[in-house]
Symmetry: C2
Subunit: 331 residues, 2 copies
């Protein structure tokens, strides 16, 4: 496991996002810059809707950063659709070098890590890191088409309809990528596809515990430690696992899947999930709090479950991964 302190930390030059109706109706609604009331974003198929959402968030990030696509040296992007077509189709007319990623729901953290490392290495002046998920494409692909109205278990999470994009660049701003820690694949032996939080929490623990012991940092050093999409079940497990090792993170910890919805008034079971969940919370609420000076140090931990519907049908356990990014207001 490696914790990489970034040389010449790149700054967050701009962020963009686009979300669906349920996300806009949630507690963070006011932080999002674009939403679609019917989750279609003007398109006829859910797949095109997701691709359009990617395009909108990319363009919003460019205008927030005050640059054009020609200024972007490379795009790092991924999503949950088979063959990652939301990203490929949504970004197909950008004319910009493209690195397709698959990190399941950890994709945004992976995209930011690779973006930060290549900008820091002087390979690109600016890059775009993107991730997206759409409730209707994901439910159809991983579980059942939403039109079936299938029953869901209490531990299941709702795939978030959201795309987000972060522009990383050489230069100055109020938010820098200071440290990254790519996770290793961690298989805790869970094979319940309706309890992804339980499959991913041990991976988040593995990466976070290693970060604390390697750096000497403690929970109190951060304004927020946010996992991407552990949901209620996974978040509780992570807090317990950390507490067993004498790291009480409860005062500063939250999960983007719990932040994006109001579990009391929205029918989301254990909370939100999906690539777009952590990405959208990061590229709205968290970036905003850096801009107004409320946040100075945040750990963002992208969490991903690396199974497929086929491996689950074949009785395999669910390997998971967690990538950590430390954002700071100081270089």
């Amino acid at each position: 496991m490696s914790v990489i302190k970034i040389k010449n930390p790149p700054c967050v030059l701009g962020v963009g996002n686009a979300v669906g109706k349920e996300e806009f109706d949630g507690p963070l609604g006011g932080y999002f810059s674009f939403h679609s009331d019917d989750n279609r974003f003007g398109m006829k198929t859910w797949e095109k809707s997701e691709a359009e959402m990617v395009k909108i968030s990319y363009n919003n990030a460019l205008s927030d950063a005050g640059i054009v696509s020609g200024d972007v040296g490379a795009i790092f992007a991924g999503d949950l659709m088979n063959q990652c077509t939301a990203s490929a189709y949504g970004l197909s007319d950008t004319n910009t070098p493209y690195f397709g990623l698959y990190g399941a729901c950890s994709t945004m953290a992976e995209a930011i890590m690779l973006g930060a490392l290549t900008v820091s290495g002087g390979n690109f002046k600016a890059v775009a890191s993107c991730a997206a998920s759409h409730n209707c494409t994901a439910e159809r692909q991983f579980r059942f088409p939403v039109e079936y109205g299938g029953q869901r278990t209490p531990t299941s999470q709702r795939t978030v309809t959201a795309a987000a994009c972060m522009i990383l660049s050489q230069g100055e701003s109020c938010m820098y990528v200071r440290t990254v820690s790519p996770g290793r694949i961690f298989d805790a032996g869970i094979n319940d596809i309706n309890n992804m939080g339980a499959a991913m929490a041990p991976a988040a623990y593995d990466t976070l515990f290693n970060f604390f012991t390697s750096t000497g940092c403690a929970p109190k050093d951060f304004d927020l430690i946010a996992t991407g999409d552990l949901g209620f079940e996974g978040a509780e497990i992570l807090k317990d696992l950390m507490k067993e090792k004498n790291y009480d993170i409860s005062a500063v910890y939250n999960d983007c899947g719990l932040m994006i919805y109001d579990r009391e008034h929205q029918d989301v079971h254990a909370g939100g999930s999906g690539c777009g969940c952590g990405a959208a919370v990061l590229c709205s609420y968290i970036a905003d709090k850096f801009r107004n000076g409320e946040f100075n140090n945040v750990l963002f931990i992208g969490t991903g479950a690396l199974m497929s519907p086929l491996t689950v049908f074949q009785g395999e356990t669910i390997p998971a991964i967690a990538h950590l990014v430390h954002f700071s207001s100081k270089k």
Copy 2:
């Protein structure tokens, strides 16, 4: 489009591969270090067979490089299976930071580019770049289960059963990554899923032509220009497109999909395809020719078609991408 000259070019410290029966029976059979006579690699499902193949090629590359998994700072890997599970499951017990990629059949070139950039940047001492495809998992997922015995069109290609891994490292060897050029997404308007070569050739042209004009290099500067898996159709189109711009590549050009099979005596239609095709030819034949001094400069161009079966059913065109890596015997 960017052509990146790598600072402190990393060396190829070792390569590993594992292939199926048809690949072993092909013209390059003698170059492969491991093969399975029934394409099962000792496993009960095709999916497990593919994951096992990934594991074998990774371990072979480690022993070829004379290192252990603990020496590898990060793995960059991907495959064609939905959710890239061949890589995730095959590499799940490596205990090594993992970056999942999806570049369709261009994945090996993408993995090498990211590996080279991060080693060059001093982030890792050594990394592993991996890619894999399996005929039986890919045919089932993208077309029909092979057990159906479906008819194939003359322009269709045979997905190669192969996994390969390259260890890139600081230090010295007979083969270095000198230059990389990540491609942009290029949609030529092709929507025939049985003619992927035609969809990918314009992307290969886009990246190669840009490389020549940006660097001032010419075809004669290379011992081999190898595309990953354009097959017969795509290879002819690429040669024509380059010739129209006064670059005659025919003397030094070949396609890994044409090299790995004997089209006269093997039933492979337009040649081989898949992530594993270019990866396996690179990590056997090409690496060998560097070792014995026959090759000093090779351009490896990974070519990928970024559609999914769903986008094809929905009538979309096929976006493609091509990533270029220049290997040289000199630093």
